[in-house]
Symmetry: C2
């Protein structure tokens, strides 16, 4: 028998509602041989209200003790002008990323399954532009300008945008492993501004070295980050593969990537500190799974929030943390069928409630 | 009689060809009362070949002595792996930006005139998505991670991403002045990552303060840079106005903005250290005008390069450096007519040569 410990962090706004559906889906996959032990905790605004901080040490430890974390969304106008950065609601997420050392944020983006019908209707792009688009953005998640030393004075402020060889190496390896899961292997497209930034020049050098030494079978392409943002909007298919970027460029590119499908409501993400079986891992592999949309406070509590992205997080968790590829695909297939059927929440032009969508997906599993 | 001194920098690749057409257009506007004195110099790869550096002190001084600079494009495979950063061909441009202190890079983007027919055919977006899009990106051009202190070691590299109050203030003012040139005034949409970066928090604070004190009539909106990159691809019309961003976010956003029209071949840019009449200017106002496309070495010398972006740079120079708004519009109207007629270079699906397009535009002026 196998038990998986899952930390459940519903957070703020629509977080609790969409998380409830994801948990329902998850439970369907319990068998006498496979149990999911859930522990629910606070993060973000609700944690600020209860404990005065966006994440407690106890919750960080719970994350480290878990096999995976399901995270919904944090923040809302209540905390907006009151606290910012590491002290604000999002700070809970940033601190958790750092504590778990989940250095790679994966955002799959595909105009085919499971979101083909949504992309067809909601993509701002002409059909032939997005046809056959299929890539994963891997964003470095624990370094760079986000976590560098900061200076914050009255008339001057500065963030150190730095990378070490080791930080670049590990996220390159993980990206290459993701590329190798495809048959034939996906190319690795690494973004940087090596024509301007010192950290980008190191980035390019380390990516080159790591790939040549360890992954000669994976095709490597370097692309300037600014051109990549144009290509992503004009010829996205040419970026099919694994798109690797540092924290800042990755933040921009992975949000922009949401435009292919046209809505963040169906896009999950995974933050990992390694893939199962990774021999360089010094801890157990951690994964945090999170929809790419926010906490949407204005529609919270009305049973109209779209639970699809959160439910697809369960599929990613099966795939990347539990090695349950078949079950991952079952979830994605059920989501596809429900989206295709038109049983959708209002953001996708439907009339279904959050719970109805969750129930329909479970029914079709 | 009024004489304008213009420094002409054709650079590398297709630079000389497209510059020749721009100069032809410019000459049409000479009258007995208005002369353009042209001085042509080397920059980029050709300057490396001739002088061992991408820009000489003499050329920098010539830029400072000019009323405006026309710059075409630099770089090519010949210099690619040989030199990088400030030493590479693009370094000539970066050094010139710094020497002239042209701290604001403007990129107009409109799905209406003069590129309406091009946008209709080449935009990757559905027609209703880009209909009525009309904005200018103002990118801070002389600060931030581009010009901060750098560390470049064997296993660690770092760029300081810093801003001073004064740097943010001046680019905010210039952006507000651009907003006020529209009737009714455009909104100012300022991008940052104030939820993460210290420099972004200063950015937001200074933009707020400057706008409240000096431009209360201009509507101010703050937008997180990552969301902005998604909005630019899903609902670009909602960004109509002046989009202000720091050097790094501005680099990403202004390249991405090229996707609205669908090709960089028709998009000019202006880099300014103030607008004419700016009372805070300590020097004469400088402007450098540059197409957003590159040097396209593979098609150089074949009379097939598209000269439109370079010719539209002449219009921007008239508008922003010489206060010749009527003449600017005449150039833009002639370009519109030629593009609408289908007389286009191969990149736009036509059969015309570089020189034919230039001649046609002149014919219709
Ligand atoms: C909320 C914010 C701190 C976060 C980030 O910038 O990393 C978000 O934009 C994201 O991409 O997950
Ligand atoms: C060539 C390069 C240094 C430059 C930049 O990043 O500023 C270019 O991308 C631009 O946007 O003008």
């Amino acid at each position: 028998a196998k038990n998986f410990n899952i930390l459940v962090l519903p957070g703020d706004g629509i977080g609790p509602e969409v998380m409830a559906e994801a948990v329902k889906v998850l439970k369907v996959f319990e068998t006498p041989q496979r149990k999911f032990e859930l522990r629910q905790e606070l993060i973000g605004g609700c944690s600020i209200d209860a404990h005065g901080k966006s994440v407690t040490e106890e919750v960080k430890q719970a994350a480290l003790d878990s096999d995976a974390v399901l995270f919904a969304a944090v923040g809302g106008p209540k905390w907006d002008n009151q606290r910012r950065g590491l002290d604000g609601p999002e700070g809970g997420l940033l601190q958790l990323r750092k504590a778990m050392d989940i250095y790679a944020n994966l955002r799959p983006c595909s105009s085919t399954s499971p979101s083909a019908s949504i992309a067809k209707e909601f993509s701002p792009f002409k059909h032939d532009v997005i046809e056959g688009v299929d890539f994963v953005v891997v964003r470095e998640n624990c370094g760079g300008a986000y976590f560098g030393r900061k200076v914050e004075e009255e008339t001057y402020a500065m963030d150190e945008w730095g990378y070490s060889e080791a930080e670049i190496e590990r996220v390159t390896r993980l990206s290459a492993e993701v590329a190798l899961r495809h048959n034939p292997p996906w190319p690795l497209i690494s973004l940087d501004k090596a024509n301007v930034l010192a950290s980008s020049r190191l980035w390019r050098r380390v990516v080159d070295k790591t790939m040549a030494a360890e992954y000669p079978q994976v095709k490597l392409v370097h692309q300037l980050a600014d051109s990549a943002s144009l290509i992503l909007a004009t010829n996205p298919r040419s970026l099919n593969g694994v798109i690797l970027a540092d924290n800042t460029f990755g933040d921009m590119i992975s949000d922009q990537a949401g435009s292919i499908v046209g809505t963040l409501g169906v896009l999950p993400s995974a933050s990992l500190n390694g893939l199962p079986g990774d021999k360089t891992l010094k801890t157990r592999p951690y994964g945090l799974y999170e929809p790419t949309h926010g906490s949407a406070p204005t529609i919270a509590g009305q049973n109209i929030a779209n639970p699809v992205a959160m439910i697809l997080c369960v599929a990613l968790m099966f795939r990347y943390s539990f090695g349950m590829e078949d079950e991952a695909q079952r979830v994605e297939d059920a989501v596809r069928k429900v989206l295709d059927s038109g049983l959708r929440t209002p953001d996708l032009g439907g009339k279904a409630g959050t719970r109805e969508v969750g129930d329909a997906i479970i029914y079709l599993l």
